[in-house]
C-alpha cells in the first residue's frame, strides 16, 4: 500500500496504524499521529485502517515559543 508519511511517499505492507508505526520503526517512540489531517489517538491506532493514498503525520515533542 502506498501512503505518504510526513510528506514522503512510502510503501507499507501492514494496514492498521499501530502495525504501520511498528513497521516503519517507531515502536517505543513518543509520537502522536494524524491521518488525512485528522488526529488519531494512540488508543485507537490498532483499530485504524489506512487506505491507499492516505497521508500519515507522525509528530513528537519539540522546542517552541
Amino acid at each position: 500500500m502506498n501512503i505518504s508519511v510526513n510528506g514522503e511517499a512510502m510503501t507499507v505492507h501492514t494496514k492498521t496504524l499501530g502495525d504501520i508505526l511498528d513497521e516503519l520503526g517507531y515502536k517505543g517512540q513518543r509520537v502522536a499521529t494524524a491521518v488525512n489531517a485528522q488526529f488519531v489517538s494512540s488508543a485507537t491506532r490498532k483499530d485504524t485502517q489506512l487506505s491507499e493514498g492516505d497521508a500519515l503525520e507522525i509528530v513528537t515533542p519539540r522546542q517552541g515559543g
Binding site: 510526513n6 510528506g7 516503519l24 520503526g25 517507531y26 517512540q29 513518543r30 509520537v31 502522536a32 499521529t33 494524524a34 489531517a37 485528522q38 488526529f39 489517538s41 494512540s42 503525520e57 507522525i58 509528530v59 513528537t60 515533542p61 519539540r62 522546542q63 517552541g64 515559543g65
Partner: protein, 257 residues
Amino acid sequence: MKQFYGTSLSSPLMLGTALYPSPAILADAFVKSGASVATVSVRREAAGDAAGDAFFQLIRKLGVHILPNTAGCHTASEAITTAQMARELFETDWIKLEVIGHADSLQPDPFQLVDAARTLCAEGFKVFPYMTEDLILADRLLDAGCDVLMPWGAPIGTGLGLVNLYGLRALRAAYPDVPMVIDAGLGVPSQAAQALEIGFDAILLNTAVAKAGNPAVMAEAFAKACEAGYLGRYADPMEPRDMAAPSTPVLGKAFLE
C-alpha cells in the same frame, strides 16, 4: 496574582524553549528565570530518532507547567489537529493557540482563531489564544470559552516591546478580571516590567532570552523585571500629571534675595 484556569503560578514569567544554543543553556536559563511555564511545540519526527523523547524528559525535569503551542498553523482545522496531538504528547489540556494569518508580521488570523478556540474549548482544552489587542476579538474569544487572553506586545521575534500601549491599556481596562498574558514582541527586561506595571498578569517570551549573548543572565534580568513590575503595580502607582509639582516643601525655604 490571578489564576490561569484555576492554576496559581509561582512566577508571572512564561518562557519559550526554542532557539537556545544548547539544551544545557536552555535548562540554565529556566533556572535563572524562575519561569513557571514552558512553551513547547510538536514537529515531525523520523523513525529511530530519540530527539523528541529526550526533549520531553528535559522539559519535565524543569518542573514547570507545560504549554504546548500550535505555532505555524494557518487554519482552524490545522490548529485543532495540532492541539489534539499536543494534548496527547504532553499530557496537558493547556494549549497556546496560534493561528497565523499574515506571513510577514505573523499576525494572528482573528476569524480562524475564534473558530479554533470555540472547538477546542468545547473539547475541554484550556485555551491561551495568541491575539492582537482588538477589543471585539477579545469579546469573541471570551464568548468562545477562553478564560485567558494573550495579546501580542509586538510581532513575534521583533523585540519592539509594547508597540500599541493605548490599545493594550484599553484591553486591560475593558476586561479587568480576565487573566491576560503579553505574548511576543518583548526584547528587553524594562518592557516586561512595563507590561506588569500596566496591569497585565504575566508575560511570555522566548527570543529575547534565547538569542541574548548570555541567555542565563538575560533570563535572570527578566525575572527581576517581572518582580519589579509586579510590585510596582501592587504598590498602586501615582497618576502622571502634565505640570511640575515640587517634591521638596516650599514652606520654610530660606529667603535669600
